[in-house]
Subunit: 361 residues, 2 copies
């Protein structure tokens, strides 16, 4: 079978990690550690083959791999890389199938690296796609849910050797059971779910998001080399909106029910205005002087003003000089079903969704 594919080298993995942090919208965890682990695995096992979803044979199984939990926990509880392969093996055993390729369930943040690391170790190709086009805090928040594909059966593993297989009636039940188990696993678990055949995947995934992350990483690198404003480079590539430039004056955060929850306040540069962003793992809503400027599912990403690198919610600190970007989400999320699943009301904000580019026309 002739298949369009390319090989990812360590340089590509670095670019993907930098881009994935931007697509994390503040969440999804820091990709740095996963990037180092992936590079290490590639030194031992060689480069990773990236394939297009349209090249996955209809009958073959592809499986998204993810780490679930509060990023604040995943920062301190470091994976060995064995856990995710344990989870994949358990799912294969349950379904009686062999995985053709893996891919990120969530391109945003550290979960961009989870399948790359597993793929390098297991010698599997990676599909250039994910199920979110960004990061989201809950398991049911995927493009697969939108087309009626179940997250279950789903397997979970932790670093102690605990394994769990879930077969829930719907994706919200899967999320609830998995979240409760994750808390017992110490706030972080390694999961394989949404197993689907190539034929279904073509409708269910968001294609090209690994390549998009790489483009973002490359744009940041290029802007650095060309001494161009990285914020401008990002806005241009992602058709984004500059929500604010400013300095962080306060950060509130707590870990609640397995999530990192809080808000960050900024003093807007060159004005007396106040800017505020609320987050639950990811940044959810942004306000300028109390007026909503952007909401989930559009991406609200805070970057270091001078380097353009994403600052995840757990790394926000008093005094940082930042730019806040509003990035249009994938069009799948702007449908009525999409907004029901991941719109501001799901997160208990009594707000109508307005596309970020429209409110800054």
């Amino acid at each position: 079978m002739l298949m369009h594919s390319e090989f990812l080298d360590v340089c590509a993995v670095e670019e993907i990690a930098a881009g994935a942090a931007i697509l994390g919208a503040g969440g999804g965890g820091d990709p740095t550690l996963g990037m180092l682990m992936t590079k290490h695995a590639m030194e031992q096992h060689g480069p990773i083959r990236l394939i297009r979803v349209e090249d996955v044979p209809d009958e073959e199984w592809i499986v998204p791999l993810s780490v679930v939990g509060a990023p604040t926990v995943t920062l301190e509880k470091i994976a060995s890389g064995k856990e995710i392969l344990e989870a994949l093996h358990m799912l294969e055993q349950h379904l009686g199938m062999k995985t053709f390729a893996v891919y990120p369930g969530e391109i945003g943040g550290g979960n961009s690296m989870t399948p790359l690391h597993a793929a390098a170790r297991a010698g599997l190709p990676v599909v250039d796609a994910d199920l979110m086009g960004r990061a989201f805090p809950e398991i049911q928040m995927t493009s697969a849910t939108l087309v009626g594909i179940k997250a279950s059966p789903m397997s979970m593993a932790d670093e102690k050797g605990n394994r769990l297989l879930l077969d829930a009636v719907d994706n919200v039940c899967t999320e609830r059971l998995a979240r409760a188990a994750t808390v017992q696993m110490g706030g972080c678990s390694h999961i394989a779910n949404y197993a689907m055949r190539g034929g279904h995947a073509k409708q269910a995934v968001i294609p090209g998001t690994i390549s998009l992350a790489r483009q973002i990483g490359r744009a940041l690198k290029t802007s650095r080399l060309e001494k161009r404003d990285p914020v401008e480079a990002l806005l241009e590539l992602l058709r984004g909106v500059l929500l604010c430039r400013g300095k962080i004056r306060d950060v509130q955060r707590k870990t609640e029910d397995g999530f990192a929850v809080g808000e960050v306040s900024l003093a807007v540069s060159g004005s007396s205005s106040q800017f505020k962003v609320a987050f639950q793992n990811e940044n959810l809503v942004a306000w300028l002087d109390g007026a909503v400027r952007a909401t989930v599912p559009d991406l609200i990403t805070i970057v270091d003003e001078s380097t353009g690198q994403a600052i995840l919610t757990e790394n926000l600190k008093y005094g940082q000089r930042v730019a806040v970007l509003g990035i249009p989400c994938h069009s799948k999320w702007r449908s009525a079903e999409g907004l029901k699943l991941v719109g501001p009301r799901y997160f208990r904000y009594d707000l109508d969704y307005v596309p970020v580019e429209a409110s800054h026309g």
Copy 2:
């Protein structure tokens, strides 16, 4: 193969239910509903065959079946009987085995009926044994744990159709993960665990406890017919100690982390003394005027003074005239390992265990 076995008829099931309520030590849930369901299933499928553990072939698998959760919840969330067979099927599938016989993980309370009902429906024999000789609130509290047998792999099912398979590193991890999942399943779940072969079972189970429950039920029936004091009949059969006769003056209870937790106070008959019993699903410690009179793992069972029927913690009410019995636990629990697993200190009472019959010499 010639095997010693007897058949349980509906009359036997009624006796077992009454006896199991006594062995519940206040917990394990009311067996009445399970008894009615079992009798109904027997009307359709015929009597249940009871076999001795020594007659289980060494290579055959036997599986204890249980309902997990706060009795206060299981009272209101009524099982269809399908859930437990779902759980058993999931475990069989995972282990690639066929169940030879089922039995109660916990003879005390409603879980005495769980495997009888399943056995009647599935046409399986029941082993005359359990893993507690009473009721305990947590999954690792079994005689199987004492001989190093794992609760995992363990399957769980709920009435909505959610299923879960756990493979935890030890029995305490199994309990934690199962408890968290049970809370998400609405406070009650149906489980199959501690799957073991006949060869191991002979060391791991507490034999004869279904017959013991039946003897208790029969003694209550006989005392009624013979107009004998049922409390005396129970004490004689179980070599128990009368801790107090009295009237309930207060009950405190709440549902906490999936458990029914609280305490009951009694005015002792014919004296100004106060008697108190603390419970977590089961009765754990009894005090007379502040002095400890009995502790877990001995059974503290509160019965209706006139009928001798057990009153479960969730049915305790102001004004009831009761007798409180102290019943020696199985000798396995009186070892150092046994007391570490289920002694008063495990339940955060800073008390040394003193056998109930010794403290009332």
